[in-house]
């Protein structure tokens, strides 16, 4: 028995749950099971060793899942859960695979049959069980001892020899990998969707100006970027990135709020020709900040796979420091014919209370109160199982209401001056209303089903613009739009 297998068998499971739109039932079952088994949830792919995919991801989401999967270090396993009933068995199986040295080695071997590096690294092979696409070789998983060049494509043959599709995919892979960088949002680059291009730029630091030097036209020349491919020394990834960036920018221009585009001309004044692109990522963009200074601007995507984040929501942000300058939102599609989970619960289950507890769990998690969030999750699961939660619920609700630090942290965040609306007030008001709704249903059986997911989505970009990152996460969590219903409302 070798030491590695011995340690591996003792590895605690750190699940990262990627909930696809329409996968609420599976997500709840997985969260419950993980909690009961004493698994502490991972906050990011780096920490995770079990990727739980709840529901059936449709295209952009599926690519996001792949991206997160590639970012996860070895040892790792993936469990795909479609129905709540199969969760227990699927997770048992996942744990078995996680703790099996043979499985982990075989997986690595299979993914990298020709890559000696994969073997050298023993238990740290570069594999992502990703069903062995050849192009997976394109992105060196960032592992120890690999020459840096592995991050470029130099050693895997030119991407141009692949089919365009492969080339593109390869590029994506490259991105996610590293992009942990843009890990923001855990990197999801969907291929083939217009969205994907915008996303490429979320590779955080990119500098529009960085491309400026060999660009023939002015700011409107964003389209003319094919020539980046020929740019020597940048390696393969850049071509795509560059195009992605520009796609993204054009996109942003469309929002009107990006008046710094004109400003890029000014950047040409920087010594761009000498500017290195570290690791092939263009440098950060620049634009004036709220105090009128020229500061770096990053494009960061939040969601769809992020802790305590509404399923299927994607927020694209332009960040300066930790201040969000502008935000646009996207809803990822759900599979056809899926019913909104929360409105199709069985008779007798306090659905509103459970839904409110789920929202509370998210908000409390983002507010950094792990304890209260975990209790909310436990109460939610009990409520869904049809158990009485009353005495403990009241104790918990009292504690949440009375927490001065929480009030201090939430008050004034995401304030909406719309009396009578279910979204009115600030984050603390909305939390208080949730507690009240849940209480009313548990005590009197009256389900106050006042939610306005469409309204929440409409207000989100305005609320997010100008807020600091921490506040932005609280705003999203305090609105917690039920996207499954928003989609229905949209038709």
């Amino acid at each position: 028995m070798d030491l590695t297998s011995w340690l591996l068998r003792r590895t605690p499971v750190r699940p990262l749950i990627a909930a696809a739109p329409g996968g609420t039932a599976a997500r709840l079952a997985a969260e419950r099971e993980a909690r009961v088994r004493g698994w502490r949830p991972a906050l990011n792919p780096a920490e995770a060793n079990l990727l739980i995919v709840a529901g059936q991801p449709q295209e952009p989401m599926a690519a996001a899942v792949e991206a997160v999967w590639r970012q996860m270090p070895f040892p790792r396993v993936r469990a795909e859960l479609l129905h709540a009933a199969e969760v227990e068995g699927a997770l048992d199986d996942a744990v078995r695979r996680l703790h099996s040295a043979d499985h982990q080695r075989a997986q690595a071997h299979q993914a990298h049959p020709n890559d000696p590096a994969g073997h050298e690294h023993g238990e740290h092979p570069d594999a992502h069980g990703a069903e062995t696409h050849t192009m997976d070789h394109g992105h060196g998983e960032p592992h120890e001892g690999h020459p840096r060049a592995a991050h470029g494509h130099g050693d895997h043959g030119p991407a141009s020899s692949m089919t365009p599709h492969h080339g593109a995919h390869d590029d994506h892979a490259q991105h996610h990998e590293h992009a942990s960088q843009g890990q923001a949002g855990h990197e999801q680059h969907h291929r083939d969707s217009p969205a994907h291009r915008a996303e490429q730029e979320h590779h955080a630091k990119h500098d529009q100006g960085g491309h400026e030097h060999d660009r023939p036209a002015g700011p409107d020349g964003h389209a003319g970027h094919g020539d980046h491919g020929e740019h020597p020394g940048h390696g393969e990834p850049i071509q795509h990135t560059a195009q992605g960036n520009h796609g993204g920018h054009a996109d942003q221009g469309g929002h009107g709020g990006h008046d710094d585009h004109g400003g890029h001309g000014g950047h040409a004044g920087h010594d761009m020709s000498g500017m290195e692109m570290p690791g092939g990522i263009p440098m950060a963009d620049r634009s004036p900040d709220r105090d009128g200074l020229q500061l770096d601007q990053l494009h960061v995507q939040l969601g769809p796979i992020l802790p305590a984040w509404p399923e299927g929501l994607v927020v694209r942000t332009a960040l300066q420091g930790d201040v969000i300058q502008e935000a646009t939102i996207d809803l990822l599609p759900a599979p056809r014919g899926s019913d909104p989970f929360w409105s199709s619960l069985a008779e007798g289950v306090p659905g509103t209370a459970a839904r409110r507890l789920d929202s509370c769990r998210r908000l409390l998690t983002v507010a950094g109160w792990e304890e209260a969030a975990v209790v909310a999750a436990r109460l939610r699961d009990s409520a869904l199982a049809g158990e009485r939660i009353d005495p403990e619920f009241s104790r918990w609700a009292r504690r949440v209401r009375r927490s001065r630090v929480l009030r201090w942290s939430l008050s004034g965040v995401g304030a909406l001056d719309e009396p009578g609306s279910p979204l009115a007030g600030d984050a603390m008001d909305r939390l208080t209303r949730w507690l009240h709704d849940a209480e009313a249903e548990l005590r009197d059986g009256v389900a106050a089903n006042a939610e306005d997911p469409v309204g929440a989505l409409e207000r989100l970009p305005g609320l997010l613009a100008g807020s600091e990152f921490a506040a932005a996460r609280l705003i999203v969590a305090s609105l917690d739009p039920e996207l499954e219903r928003a989609r229905v409302a949209h038709g």
Binding site: T11, V36, L43, E47, H186, V300, L319, G368, F469
Partner: protein, 307 residues
């Protein structure tokens, strides 16, 4: 009363600190599993976590500054150990510097740089924000913290930790410097980015400064964080709680018991209180805590002058 150990003291110190870290992590894990209503062996979970991190692949991000990010995690561990060089265990101390309090403060200030380096080095937007949050946090906690340390030094009229302990023969400093004691504990939480001051590695940032760490790097980072918390808790004992003084038990055991008690409270606070956002704490720190600690220092210096 406090004597410096020969060289092997430096070898025993890490063992003692690691034991305290293990105990604190196990306590934290038990509290967590109680809240979650889970049925698994919470006591050994931290040890399993170490096993898991030892076999986990080290990953790195594109264009990461490995020297900075890995160096940062290592610096956190080293600073955690070195800070405790001047903390007496009963009557033994590894290094009895004449400026022990300054040494302690200098070591924990290393954490400032270390966390920022880890966040910055990963070349990741979340890491970057997390790193800067910690710098902002430092601006909030460091000054009140220094005034709290200075207050204890004033009371003893010395920067040597042994003198501070000796000065508490009759009355523990916690009794007549309660403000400094509370502020000290708050800043220990803040410098270990623990409890309500964990915004630098918060869940809203998917782990913030530590978002990209895996394997040994994460192990070092987490260990460094625990070491800072333990070192901070242990230093509260000679500073405010009379060092190893106490009835019946030997003085080294009293030191350990007091340290464990402080540590237990610090770990437990995290369960009770949500994260304090830095821009809010900044106000409190500068408008309330700094004046309070200054008044406390003034009172102490007047007492020292008068007696």
């Amino acid at each position: 009363m406090v004597e410096q150990l020969p060289f092997w003291g430096g070898l025993v110190l890490p063992l003692v600190l690691v034991l305290l870290v293990a105990a604190a992590a196990a306590w934290d894990s038990v509290l967590a599993s109680q809240a979650a209503g889970s049925r698994n062996g919470a006591l050994i979970e931290p040890f399993r976590a170490v096993a898991g991190l030892l076999v986990q692949q080290r990953r790195r991000t594109l264009a990461a500054d490995l020297l900075l990010s890995r160096g940062g995690a290592l610096a956190l561990v080293v600073a955690g150990f070195l800070a405790s060089l001047v903390t007496p265990l009963g009557r033994w101390v590894v290094a009895d510097f004449s400026i022990g309090i300054v040494w302690f403060n200098a070591m924990e200030a290393v954490a400032w740089a270390a966390v920022w380096l880890v966040g910055w080095g990963a070349n990741s937007a979340f890491g970057l924000i997390g790193g800067y949050r910690f710098v902002a946090q430092g601006l909030a906690y460091e000054l009140p913290h220094m005034f709290a340390l200075i207050t204890a030094a004033l009371g003893a009229e010395s920067l040597r930790v042994a003198d501070v302990v000796a000065a508490q023969d009759e009355l523990w400093f916690v009794v007549w410097m309660p403000v400094a004691f509370v502020v000290y504990l708050l800043s220990v939480l803040a410098m270990a980015f623990w409890g309500p001051f964990d915004q630098a590695v918060g869940p809203d940032l998917a782990g913030g400064a530590s978002a990209e760490l895996s394997g040994v790097d994460r192990l070092l980072f987490e260990a460094g964080r625990w070491l800072l918390l333990v070192s901070g808790a242990a230093f509260a004992v000679p500073l405010f709680l009379g060092g190893g003084a106490g009835p019946l038990l030997p003085d080294w055991l009293w030191s350990l018991v007091k340290t464990a008690a402080v540590l237990a409270v610090l770990v437990w606070i995290r369960r009770r209180v949500p994260t304090v956002r830095m821009e809010r704490y900044q106000e409190i720190a500068w408008i309330v805590l700094i004046p309070l600690t200054l008044v406390q220092a003034l009172v102490v210096s007047l007492v020292v002058l008068a007696r």
